[in-house]
C-alpha cells in the first residue's frame, strides 16, 4: 500500500514550492510531484504598460536572482524592437551578471540548502584542533578553518544555543542519521556558512557598483546602461576588482573545498548515483570576454546524446500548460504565449498526516508553465553551462 507524503513549503529555495511523494511499503519513493503554489501573473501585469518598464517590473518576480530577470526582460524588448546596444554596455551588463552569479551560488550552497547536510549541533562537539587538520585535506590554505577561528565559531554558536533562540538554526533535524559529516567536517562547514554571510554581502556590493543597488538594481534600460559614470571611473572599476578578488578567494579556498568535502561524504547516496531523470540539457552563452566571444558557449543536448551538441534554435521552444493552472490549446511558443489562469483546485486524499487536500497529478497542479525544446523537457542551469565545453568547435 503506497503512502503519500506532503512537504509544503520547501524552504531551501527562494520562492514557493510544494512537493508530494508516494512511497511504497519499503519507504522508497515511487512517484513525485512538485508544485509552485503562488500565482504571479507578471505577464498579465505588464499588459497595457510601456515596454520601457518591463525589466524593472519583471525582476520583482524574485528577491535573489533579480538582475537576471531585469536583464532578460530588457533584452526581450530590445530584441522585439531590433535595438543593438553598445559593446561597453554589453561588458557592463556582463560584469553585473557575473557579480550576481558569484553571489547566487554562495547563498544557495551555504544559506539556502547548506543546513540540509551540515549538522550544526554535531559541530559543537568537534575538536577544533583536529578540524583544522581535516580542513587541510580539502584546501592548501583554508579560509576560516584554523584552530583559533574554529574555536571562536564554536563559542559563538554555543552562546546562541544557550539563549534558546536559535534563529536560522531552529526547527531542523539535528542528529538525523542522514547527516554524514564528522563533527569536525560539520564545524568547518559551519564556519564557512558564517563567513559566507560576510562574503555574499561583498558580492552584492559588486553588483551595486554598476547597478545602483542589489537586490533589484536599477541601471539598465532598453538600449544600454545608465551607469556610464561608474564605467568611466577607474576608481569604481578598481573597487569592483577588489571585491571580486575577495569573493574569488572565498570561492577557491572555502566553497570549492567544501564541495569536494561534501562530494566525498555524500557521493555514494542513491540520489547522486541514480543518474538524471531528464537527460536533455540546454544552455545559453554568457560572460562576454571580447566582442562575439563568451566564456560559456550556447548549446543543446537531446536525450543524453553527448556527442551531438547542437546550436539552440529558439523556434523549437514551447511552454506547456497541460499540468499547470492555465488555459491554452496545446504548447505555445513564447511569442504566441498566453497567460490565462485556470485554477482547478486540490483533491482530498489520505496522507501520512491524515486526510488532506493534495495535488491532482493527473490534472493541473502548479502555477509554473513547463518549458519544452523539441517537445522534450530539458534541464537548464549551472551544470548545463559545461555543455558548451563538449562542442568540438
Amino acid at each position: 500500500m503506497s503512502k503519500r507524503v506532503v512537504i509544503d513549503p520547501i524552504t531551501r529555495i527562494e520562492g514557493h514550492l510544494r512537493v508530494e511523494v508516494e512511497v511504497d511499503d519499503n519507504n522508497v519513493i515511487t512517484k513525485a510531484w512538485s508544485s509552485s503554489t503562488l500565482w504571479r501573473g507578471i505577464e498579465v501585469i505588464l499588459k497595457g504598460r510601456t515596454p520601457m518598464d518591463v525589466g524593472l517590473i519583471v525582476q520583482r518576480i524574485c528577491g535573489v536572482c533579480t538582475y537576471s530577470h531585469y536583464r532578460c526582460g530588457t533584452e526581450a524588448v530590445e530584441n522585439a524592437l531590433g535595438v543593438k546596444i553598445p559593446l561597453n554596455a554589453k561588458y557592463l551588463r556582463s560584469l553585473m551578471q557575473s557579480s550576481l552569479y558569484m553571489h547566487d551560488h554562495i547563498v544557495h550552497f551555504y544559506h539556502l540548502h547548506g543546513l540540509d547536510w551540515v549538522d550544526v549541533v554535531s559541530a559543537l562537539s568537534a575538536d577544533p584542533a583536529l578540524a583544522a587538520k581535516v580542513a587541510m585535506n580539502y584546501s592548501d590554505a583554508p579560509i576560516a578553518a584554523g584552530e583559533g577561528e574554529l574555536k571562536a565559531v564554536q563559542a559563538r554558536v554555543k552562546g546562541l544555543v544557550e539563549t534558546g533562540k536559535l534563529g536560522a538554526f531552529a526547527n531542523a533535524y539535528w542528529g538525523n542519521s542522514t547527516y554524514r559529516f564528522t563533527p569536525e567536517q560539520n564545524l568547518i562547514a559551519l564556519s564557512h556558512y558564517l563567513k559566507a554571510l560576510e562574503v555574499q554581502r561583498v558580492a552584492a556590493e559588486m553588483l551595486a557598483i554598476f547597478g545602483g543597488k542589489s537586490p533589484h538594481p536599477q541601471s539598465i534600460v532598453v538600449g544600454g546602461v545608465t551607469s556610464v559614470r561608474d564605467m568611466l571611473s577607474p576608481a569604481r572599476l578598481q573597487e569592483w576588482k577588489q571585491k571580486h578578488a575577495i569573493v574569488q578567494d572565498f570561492i577557491e579556498r572555502a566553497y570549492q573545498a567544501d564541495i569536494v568535502m561534501a562530494a566525498e561524504a555524500f557521493g555514494t547516496e542513491a540520489s547522486v548515483l541514480g543518474g538524471v531523470n531528464v537527460s536533455s540539457f540546454l544552455c545559453g552563452d554568457d560572460f562576454i570576454m571580447a566582442d562575439g566571444q563568451n566564456l560559456f558557449k550556447q548549446g543543446v543536448i537531446i536525450k543524453g546524446d553527448l556527442a551531438n551538441v547542437m546550436d539552440i534554435n529558439p523556434d523549437l521552444i514551447r511552454e506547456d500548460v497541460t499540468h499547470a493552472w492555465y488555459k491554452a490549446d496545446g504548447a505555445q511558443h513564447p511569442y504566441e504565449g498566453t497567460t490565462i489562469p485556470d485554477y482547478t483546485g486540490f483533491v482530498e486524499r489520505d496522507t501520512v498526516y491524515g486526510k488532506l487536500p493534495t495535488l491532482d497529478g493527473d490534472g493541473k497542479y502548479s502555477w509554473v508553465k513547463s518549458p519544452r525544446y523539441q517537445d522534450e523537457p530539458v534541464e537548464v542551469g549551472h551544470s548545463c553551462l559545461l555543455i558548451g565545453e563538449l562542442r568540438p568547435w
Partner: protein, 92 residues
C-alpha cells in the same frame, strides 16, 4: 526629501544602498519612487521625466487636499460667525 522631488521621502541619497555603495541616481537612472504607496501605477512610466507627465493619482490628491483645506477654512469662518451670533445674547 527623497530623490523624486516632493513625491518621495526616502533616505537613499544620504545612506545609499549596500554599505553606502550606490543608489539608482548615482547609477545614472531616474528614481522610480519605490518607497511610495502605489508607485507602480502612480509613478509609471519610469523612464519618462517627471515634469513632462501628469502624476495622475498624486497631483489629483494634492489638488483635492488643497480644495478640502480651503473648504474647511470657509466652514470654520462660518462656524465662528454662527457661534458669535449665539454668544452675544448669552453675554447680554
Amino acid at each position: 526629501m527623497g530623490c523624486k522631488g516632493s513625491y518621495t521621502y526616502n533616505n537613499c541619497p544620504t545612506e545609499r544602498f549596500n554599505h553606502h555603495t550606490s543608489w539608482p541616481v548615482l547609477a545614472g537612472h531616474g528614481c522610480m519612487g519605490c518607497s511610495e504607496p502605489n508607485f507602480w501605477d502612480d509613478m509609471a512610466d519610469f523612464e519618462k521625466p517627471l515634469g513632462r507627465q501628469l502624476l495622475h493619482g498624486i497631483d489629483a490628491t494634492a489638488d483635492t487636499i488643497g480644495a478640502v483645506i480651503l473648504g474647511a477654512t470657509v466652514v470654520g469662518i462660518g462656524a465662528h460667525a454662527v457661534a458669535s451670533v449665539f454668544a452675544k445674547p448669552l453675554e447680554e
